[in-house]
Symmetry: C2
Subunit: 139 residues, 2 copies
DNA sequence: TTACTTGCAAATGCTTTGCGAGCCG
DNA sequence: CGGCTCGCAAAGCATTTGCAAGTAA
């Protein structure tokens, strides 16, 4: 598993106590369906480890991590922004509309069709967003 | 072209002057690349026709139209919500990252792959979001 | 030391809502 | 008439920011 704290240090980021706390939380949650925490969840978990941490610091830190390419931000349909550790390979998301859990997938076929569509419309594909929203079958 | 005013009347919505103004504006913009207006643009155009209209009314009206299935709301990566008249067939969007213009497309192949992916993950596909962000080639 | 960080509270930007006045059917 | 709408201003929410005090390197 990726260790955000280490990556941040390697990138020369000054790692304060608060930043270590936040990096650890995102690292711990990463990869699990219940990962992709929003700022509020990170703030709640951070408060358990450091009762003085401010939510403003969480906002500033996730923004910083994002700018340094350490984490990635997603805006699913539930309003608040959610974050996950950066990964080597791109992937898209399937969101469980009942639990909010997030599953990752990637499909090269879709990717190439996307490029083709953009090309046909006269565009260079710069970015994309693909999210599937689903309900779990036979729970 | 779809006429929102007519659709609203058919659905039994009380069409006040403000609602007619807003329906007409969305109808006029519909289908064009510069369509998909946000609330502020609708408000500005509405103000030209009715200088007393309130932005609160625009918010209330687009929400009402959306609830009645007359228009559809999209949240692209630019923050504000954007609206378009409902259409018979589903489609996805390519957004010009420089102008904000929106182009529509649909691709049945992608759709079937999406269903397959959801199925493999144990989900029934309820909704999806596919947006391409591109830069115009050789302008 | 010294520039970078933090906590706090105030300020955003977009959207919603309470209220009293006004309008549609 | 009577309930639905409207304009206005205040309230909400998630997020950002100014400032003075605190801290990592």
């Amino acid at each position: 598993m990726i260790d955000l704290k280490k990556i941040c240090l390697d990138k020369g980021l000054r790692m304060t106590g608060q930043r270590i706390t936040i990096a650890d939380i995102i690292t711990e949650l990463g990869g699990h369906p219940a990962g992709h925490p929003d700022v509020n969840l990170i703030y709640l978990k951070a408060s358990e480890k450091d009762k003085n941490i401010s939510i403003a610091t969480v906002y500033r830190t996730v923004k910083l991590f994002e700018e340094y390419g350490v984490i990635e931000k997603h805006d699913f349909k539930d309003g608040r922004s959610r974050y996950e550790p950066i990964q080597e390979s791109n992937h898209d998301h399937l969101i469980d509309i009942e639990s909010g859990d997030v599953y990752e997938f990637s499909n090269s076929e879709i990717e190439s069709i996307q490029k083709k569509i953009a090309d046909e419309l006269g565009f260079e594909l710069v970015d994309h967003r693909l999210e599937l929203y689903g309900k779990k079958i036979n729970k």
